[in-house]
């Protein structure tokens, strides 16, 4: 619209409406322009030690992978007797099993309605089948070159770390895929061990450390955060000690990785929060906050 005489225009205030012909040009910019702009309304304030505590999930998982590889190396070199590993694994599984129920006073068991008999049955079925199939596991990858097996294991273990459910709500998270990749890696590595008994024990150890141990960790973290921190530290140090006995350089690098993940990354996260500029305004697509499925159920 073309401008009216100035005296009049000063009296009339600009309105943010389209239906009225206003005495302002179409490209007029009022003082109220962008007044509804909001920034960072959903931004969260992080506290350093809380973030460090949360990062322990990642540390734990890295350590699990490290411990697994170290144990495999010992088995492969013949420094670790399979019977001994099986015995320790069984004992720690039993302790973990009892601890799992003790932590919440049997509440989770009552909710799921699963009996101890059912647990025993599935454990037996699993052990029998793995034992029965271990000769096949042993010969399964004989025609594949050892380098390919190592490369595949590395990729699978990396994939396990990438897709693992660390508690983030993202599309990439898939605990099934993550577990499957870890088991695949363990089968690959187990097939390079000297005997089929070794292979059987390696795979059952993989199940213990990649499937059962994270479940116990989760419960520990929710129920007794203090002891969880202790367990994480202990676990990390034992993983480091194991790695140190194989390679000093590897252990140093791994220690650096753990320190940077648990101390440096939280620090950077909090620093970068200062630069966050998330823009919100009336143009945002509205969110439906209600649960509409009740109308259809």
């Amino acid at each position: 619209m073309s401008a009216e005489p100035e005296t009049q225009a000063e009296e009339i205030r600009w309105q943010k409406v389209l239906y009225e012909r206003q005495p302002f040009p179409d490209n007029y910019v009022d003082q109220r322009f962008l007044e509804e702009l909001r920034k960072n309304i959903h931004a969260r304030k992080y506290r350093y030690w809380a973030v460090v505590f949360e990062s322990s999930v990642v540390v734990q998982q890295l350590c699990s992978v490290c411990v697994f590889v170290v144990i495999w190396w010992y088995m492969d070199e013949g420094l670790l007797a399979p019977h001994w590993l099986f015995g320790t694994g069984l004992a720690s599984s039993l302790v973990g099993y009892i601890l799992f129920d003790l932590l919440d006073g049997g509440e989770g068991r009552r909710k799921s309605g699963r009996t101890r008999w059912a647990d025993l049955k599935s454990a037996l079925v699993f052990i029998t089948f793995t034992y029965g199939f271990s000769p096949i596991l042993k010969t399964l990858t004989e025609s594949v070159s050892t380098d390919t097996i190592y490369a595949m294991s590395v990729f699978m273990l990396l994939g396990h770390l990438v897709f693992f459910d660390y508690g983030a709500n993202a599309a990439i998270v898939s605990s099934t895929l993550s577990l499957n990749m870890a088991i695949f890696a363990s089968v690959c590595l187990a097939s390079r061990l000297p005997r089929s008994l070794h292979a059987f024990i390696m795979v059952s150890f993989a199940i213990q450390i990649f499937a059962l141990w994270p479940m116990l960790q989760k419960k520990l973290k929710a129920r007794t955060p203090r002891s969880y921190v202790g367990v994480t530290l202990l676990f990390a140090f034992s993983a480091l000690a194991g790695l140190l006995s194989i390679s000093v350089v590897g252990a140093t690098l791994f220690a650096l990785l753990l320190v940077s993940i648990s101390c440096l990354c939280p620090f950077y996260l909090i620093r970068l929060q200062l630069f966050k500029e998330n823009i919100h305004g009336p143009w945002d697509e509205a969110e439906i906050k209600e649960d509409l499925s009740r109308f259809l159920s």
Binding site: K16, F33, N278, I279, E285
Partner: protein
């Protein structure tokens, strides 16, 4: 929907026109305008009808207008629409959602040929979803033509895809002469997305043809109350909210019916609700509607409900108000700017708030405090007209025609300084390649070799000379719109 022409006004002469007693339009020049967008008839929607109606009104005002779009199946080559409006359907490959693929280069030979042939002076691109529109802007700047861009939609800032598209929009608009938005909210959005100077962004709303949307109170039954919804049934239009509102209100008011026009992937949940609550006789799902049928559906209702979650302008509520319906709508995007408070009930985008708004509308209807449909129509029809839109767009053209197009060196400077070091340099390089390509094309077929097209519209328009009193409402169904 086609424009009803008021013809025979002097064309070249300086013209003084009085509008609403205050506005003086002074015009001495006409423009050769080329509208470019991937979206045009036979595709249907808001952008398509905007381009068509605006072009018709600009032709009426004595400009030469052509439209360039991509080929739709066997609709290719050149077609003429009402009043000699020439449309080029170019053989470009469609990639996704009727938008063409872009390489930034492959369309230059064709578009340059058209721009030269038609002696185009201003390129007017529409819709940020259209790759062709952005390509045309890019080529036009290389050729030294003036550029105008109309943005029809809103975008967020939160997710990765919008971050990327916003960056591309920044590149595309940083050296465009002028930008038009359809509402003030849309202007704020575009200015933020493309990091623009707000002075070069004008707000010109959409319009509806009020003669197409007239009330007819005898078509509705006054013993029952009918709520009408006309929209595509997709998530962004809030169909999920609708599925909560229907059972809530139908249980409360036994004499309440729903008529729902439109088609889309969310239709299934409405059908489920209807099944679950046994509302087959009270909820009618009409399916896809042609634009010419929309009015006949609207006039059967008392209340119009709009549940959109985001909307730059929302023509649907203007059309409904023009038919004399009470409008209940979500308060999102540019909707609060569109109708005055006494003609619309604004609600938060939740089932609870919308139900409250509808109940308020029903009680107003029962107590008779709502104005008669005819009165509402008479108020609304003065709000948005295509003539007004054309007049204001013409001012943008006049302003743009007086501006200089950035020469190559300054354009490169602008790209690098405005779009960030990485993106800026990449697109500056592409602009140089485009320029070299243009020089090559000019060497292959010099501009002087290209024939000048017969002028159908505009100042010595062949069409207007042949049929000076052409007043028929040609191609009536041309812009029928499916929602």
């Amino acid at each position: 929907m086609a424009y009803r022409g008021r013809r025979g006004h002097p064309r070249f002469a300086a013209r003084y026109r009085v509008n609403r007693g205050t506005l003086y339009t002074y015009r001495t020049r006409t423009h050769n305008i080329c509208m470019v967008s991937d979206f045009f008839y036979p595709n249907m929607g808001g952008v398509e009808s905007h381009i068509y109606q605006l072009s018709q009104c600009l032709i009426e005002r004595g400009h030469k207008v052509i439209i360039v779009t991509h080929a739709y199946e066997n609709r290719k080559g050149i077609r003429y629409l009402t009043n000699g409006l020439k449309v080029y359907y170019l053989p470009l490959k469609v990639m996704y959602n009727q938008s063409t693929a872009t390489t930034l280069f492959h369309s230059l030979p064709l578009l340059r040929y058209i721009f030269v042939r038609e002696r185009v002076t201003i390129i007017h691109s529409h819709s940020s979803f259209s790759a062709m529109a952005h390509d045309a802007l890019f080529h036009a700047k290389t050729m030294g033509l003036q550029t105008v861009f109309t943005d029809h939609s809103l975008f967020g800032f939160a997710d990765v895809s919008s971050v990327l598209t916003n960056k591309l929009l920044t590149v595309s608009l940083c050296d465009t002469n002028h930008i038009i938005c359809v509402s003030f909210t849309s202007k704020e959005n575009t200015v933020l997305r493309a990091a623009l100077n707000p002075e070069i962004v004008s707000v010109i709303p959409n319009a509806v043809d009020p003669t197409d949307f007239t009330p007819d109170p005898f078509r509705r039954h006054d013993s029952i109350i009918t709520i009408v919804v006309v929209s595509r049934l997709v998530y962004r239009k809030g169909t999920d909210l609708l599925s909560g509102i229907i059972p809530e209100l139908c249980q409360k008011y036994p004499n309440l019916n729903f008529i729902i026009g439109g088609e889309g992937p969310k239709r299934i949940i409405l059908e489920e609700v209807r099944e679950r609550y046994q509302l087959h006789d009270r909820v009618r799902l009409l399916g896809a509607l042609e634009h010419k049928d929309v009015r006949n559906v609207l006039v059967q209702g008392h209340i119009f409900l709009n549940t959109s979650l985001t909307e730059a302008f929302c023509m649907a509520i203007v059309e409904a108000a023009s038919c004399g319906l009470q409008v209940v709508s979500t308060k999102v995007g540019g909707i609060p700017e569109v109708l005055p408070e006494n003609l619309i009930i604004l609600c938060e985008p939740s089932v609870k708030s919308l139900c409250e708004g509808l109940e308020k509308a029903i009680s107003q209807l029962k107590s008779g405090t709502w104005p008669a449909p005819e009165n509402i129509h008479n108020v609304v029809k003065t709000f948005y007209t295509w003539r007004n839109v054309a007049e204001r767009t013409e001012k943008v053209y006049d302003r743009v025609a007086g501006e200089a197009v950035l020469p190559m060196d300054r354009r490169l400077d602008r790209l690098i300084s405005h779009c960030g070091p990485v993106t800026g340099c990449i697109f500056a390089l592409l602009a140089v390649f485009n320029f070299l390509f243009l020089i090559f094309l000019r060497w292959m077929t010099p501009d002087s070799v290209i024939d000048v097209a017969i002028d159908a519209t505009g100042p010595k328009g062949a069409w207007t000379q042949q049929y000076p009193c052409n007043k028929r409402r040609g191609e009536n169904n041309m812009m029928s719109k499916i929602r």
